[in-house]
Symmetry: C2
């Protein structure tokens, strides 16, 4: 097995050979191929600009790997601002001992996901550190925001409906199962959310707010939106979709899907009168086929989130506190 050594990070010939052989091969495009200190791009208008570093272990899991995840994560962050993702940079930190074949597979997966998402990888950097054969990937992206789109966590208004694009907890439960060597059928939901966004914008839906439901889970993210928009959001527990396998796993583990990370789920907030049409548009996509309307925004003196439980009671939904599961993304 060929392994990464410190020499690959020294800026010399070994590093250059590795770059050409793996990154150059998979990421080939006319901008990256120039090998300048920076990519030169022509841009006009409003852009979204976002960064994310991925440290997930294991690096390969059911439904994806750290490479696919690193592209989905940043592309989704751009989409959530109403942008059309265009360009990515990637920064690799490779731990000494990393299997070069595994790196090649991960980079191929990034290239494939970038291709599907319509983004070009235009600049990169690689460092090597001591460690145990793992890797970290930073991706930073630029997307173009078409005119007339105004999507923000501050835009949610009383009367708006909250749509969740699918089941909660799949990615988190998948990573936790892998780490604990539990055998089950739970797959990460890791996906590019562009089809859902396109279905909504192409059909003239007034999208107030979008947010992908990642680290911290729905509970944390919905609180951020309530606070930023200054509204009270009431969720209906029975409407929140959770996979049977995930639900069973969470029951045994004592986990709450409300605080679990996902990598291919989003919430969409739309005016109440457009909610049914928006829901059927989201459901028309593969990524959003299990979507549901899960709550309503209400006027409030103080921003807050509550949940009407299955038994008809009402409880406050707080943000995630404490540990959660680290290194899920």
């Amino acid at each position: 097995m060929e392994r990464i050594t410190m020499a690959h990070g020294s800026g010399g010939k070994s590093g250059a050979e590795l770059m050409a052989r793996i990154f150059g091969k998979h990421f080939k495009n006319e901008i990256l191929d120039k090998m300048e200190d920076a990519a030169v791009l022509e841009i006009n208008g409003r852009i979204a600009f976002s960064t994310d570093t991925f440290v997930v272990t294991p690096t390969v899991f059911k439904g994806g790997d750290i490479g696919k995840l690193s592209v989905c994560g940043t592309v989704n962050d751009l989409l959530m601002m109403g942008a059309v993702p265009k360009y990515l940079t990637c920064g690799f930190v490779l731990e000494e001992g990393l299997d070069v074949e595994l790196l090649d597979k991960i980079v191929a997966s990034m290239a494939e996901t970038a291709g599907k998402a319509g983004v070009k990888i235009v600049a990169g950097d690689t460092k090597v550190v001591e460690g145990h054969g793992g890797l970290f990937i930073n991706t930073t992206g630029i997307g173009i925001i078409p005119e007339n789109r105004d999507v923000s966590a501050a835009n949610c208004k009383a009367g708006d409906k909250i749509i969740l694009s699918g089941t909660l907890g799949d990615h988190h439960a998948c990573i936790l199962s892998a780490r604990m060597n539990v055998e089950n059928n739970i797959k990460s939901d890791c996906a590019v959310l562009a089809p859902i966004c396109n279905a909504l914008f192409d059909n003239g839906i007034t999208v107030r707010t979008m947010r992908d439901v990642t680290r911290g889970g729905l509970g944390t993210i919905i609180n951020e939106i309530a606070r930023t928009s200054g509204v009270h959001i009431d969720l209906a527990e029975e409407s929140i979709p959770v996979n049977d396998d995930v639900s069973g796993f969470c029951g045994i583990m004592g986990l709450d899907p409300l605080y679990m990370g996902n990598e291919g789920k989003m919430i969409i907030i739309v005016p109440g009168e457009q909610a049914d049409r928006a829901l059927s548009l989201v459901r028309s996509t593969e990524e959003g086929k299990n979507a549901a309307i899960i709550g309503t925004a209400l006027d409030a003196e103080k921003a807050s989130v509550t949940m009407t439980t299955r038994l008809g009671g009402s409880r406050v939904v707080d943000v995630l506190y404490g540990e959660g599961l680290p290194r899920i993304c």
Copy 2:
């Protein structure tokens, strides 16, 4: 001593508190404060887009720290394309056990350097991993390229002169000294190179190529330019400035300053007839006060780099091969 724990990376309340207390405090600006999934920026024209991850150990060294370095590095990469650096994202990977006070100091250093460089930090991300209390920082930047600037590693022509902005090897020798616990006065040259670039552009110099002399050293970088531009570059050994302390240290260690990394040095390639004026402009800046004309580009059937030695001989200058010193940046 307060230390980073895995809970700081889980996406919940502890992470949010840390972000507000450290990143929010130092990086405060109207774009970052919105806390959206991505920063929204208005951009028109050609931009430079570049990424770099910093893994230097020790994280604090004479003349700087990983925070200052992480801003200088990416800002300099943008400058090298003729761009005016504008926006940065930063992605932190914190190792469990990291001293929170040290993190605060590093983040303050980033903010100070960003302020001096005129760039805003507009988006960020933090992850926590197991480890030994260290940290990695990715910065990705956008700069605007003013019209009529065409700076590229492909633009060097026969007759052009190569200017080096100062002494070689300072950063590399500083980091190596710190790692080996050698007492000396060698300081990192870590600096934002904007004053040099501004002096040249503001005075109408035709800048063909600029490149900061980082990992791989002058030997590697000058070879990349020769290859990309298809020229033969001949360097004059006696004209290459090296600090006396660095020169002494390299002699003892058996190191060649030609392959050592720097973090505040650049080469500038200009038409021969503008070389003397360009040199005096570079020398008029603090960052470029020790600049020198170190070589000439010549017509060539095959791209290559040679050096006329102190003794009058000529030798081929190849790229760095093998180890170098890892984790210098």
